[in-house]
Symmetry: C2
Subunit: 297 residues, 2 copies
Amino acid sequence: MNLADRLMDAIDRKGTPALVGLDPRYESLPAELRPDDHPSNAVAAKAIGIFCRRIIDVVAPLVPAVKPNIAFFEAFGWEGCRAFTEVASYAKEQGLIVVADVKRGDIGSTAAAYAKSLFQAMDVDAVTLSPWLGSDSLAPFFEYAGEGRGFFLLVKTSNPSSADIQDRELAGGTVFGHVAGLVNDWGADHVGDRGFSSVGAVVGATFPEQAAMLRRAMPKTPFLLPGYGAQGGKADSLRNAFGEGGYGAIVNSSRGIIFAYQKDQGEGGWEDAVHRATLAMRADLAGAVPDAGWNQG
Amino acid sequence: MNLADRLMDAIDRKGTPALVGLDPRYESLPAELRPDDHPSNAVAAKAIGIFCRRIIDVVAPLVPAVKPNIAFFEAFGWEGCRAFTEVASYAKEQGLIVVADVKRGDIGSTAAAYAKSLFQAMDVDAVTLSPWLGSDSLAPFFEYAGEGRGFFLLVKTSNPSSADIQDRELAGGTVFGHVAGLVNDWGADHVGDRGFSSVGAVVGATFPEQAAMLRRAMPKTPFLLPGYGAQGGKADSLRNAFGEGGYGAIVNSSRGIIFAYQKDQGEGGWEDAVHRATLAMRADLAGAVPDAGWNQG
């Protein structure tokens, strides 16, 4: 089944396009999960694995997907890689779609090795990829698009210095606008029954005007919107990124949800803070796209 | 000690800028190291680890550095990540500089986690990075540049579809030319005693005219030249990429050396073929840059 179809069905089932980013900075873990300020890789990897599984327990009924960022796992060496694989597997068991945030990008034969790593050894549903090396760096990933997997290309990222290269002016527009055209073409053969492609785009929630332009340039491309919450993106400004029927975008929040306990001193433990933050994000998005198909429950 | 200085000293000591790429495709391993056609991740990871250590034994006296590509390790999950770490550590014990080919690129806090992964957990000397997300994606790596580490940015890659984005025309030149200007500026504060920076550039050996232009645009930037050998790059065409005194470039060959046994049916085992291929590459490069400082032995 086409990844975009799976994603939209999950959005309908959960009633929200919210995506929880798993960026388990060890030093930000709740104290009860942090046995040591200077842990070995093995100790730290175990702790972030437990933390992520407990986040998943809280958010699995509330959101369609999670986005573990592999960098925070690789920070603890191969033990961290093992924890990543276990977390991805646990999230799938709980019925979540797993978008591995890995931002890989390499040439043909190496790209094939990355695709094998991610879609076989780690067995995730979708990945983020850099477009910098062009189409032949994506070819091995297309082979998996027919098997219900997908990927999101970094078209316009959420960070300030995305302007360094992505915003440069070509004769007919910006570099990221050119990349958007490529992504639209690359995804054309992979559109599912619900009108979106399994080739998606990462579009920073921090640049709302650009999101509207990119929605027009890539009408059938699902967007992954990072930068909501901690990076300053507001739900209202995301409206432009949604496509027909309020579909075609998933909105990520990482720190704002998983480390909600740092700002929310309300009742219960840190998992209650995660629960409240997820409900708040759901309500925020529902308010921003009131007529969306997933928002009629 | 500045990474570029360390690299140049090693080039002088070994008398060549040749770099051996460790891309251990399991299916290409010599039969004696390949116990099974459908190995578990653990079995495959062990086999590629042994293969790489034996390559290192052969090439350590002949070249200054190796470039393990992490994708071929990650293809076998966390067991592959563990093998990568062990191979990197073994290469350093044998006196080689380790350039980890990882092509990472992510925003600030995630970039910091990658830098920790690579320079602490895996403890490599240098890494390859994508410039796509701009300067703030590099900030955490600069912190390590003062500690003798360095990185090579993907300015113009060796694959055909590098043209998709990198070759696009801006008002005053190409996108990769613009990136070259950024890399030159980013590296300016990290120039060592021997005149080169610890911020390097990946420049495909498959595009010699562009290499000459890029050498002018980045006079103090060390180049990592992939694409020599198996991808069709010729030593003669690399001459333009070298800077003052024949320094400032290292030339990578992966398949052409590590799987030399597939084409070389000469005397001895597969390690003898690796040895002959490395000597042939050294001679080829020496012929291409006859007046280089490292070539006067």
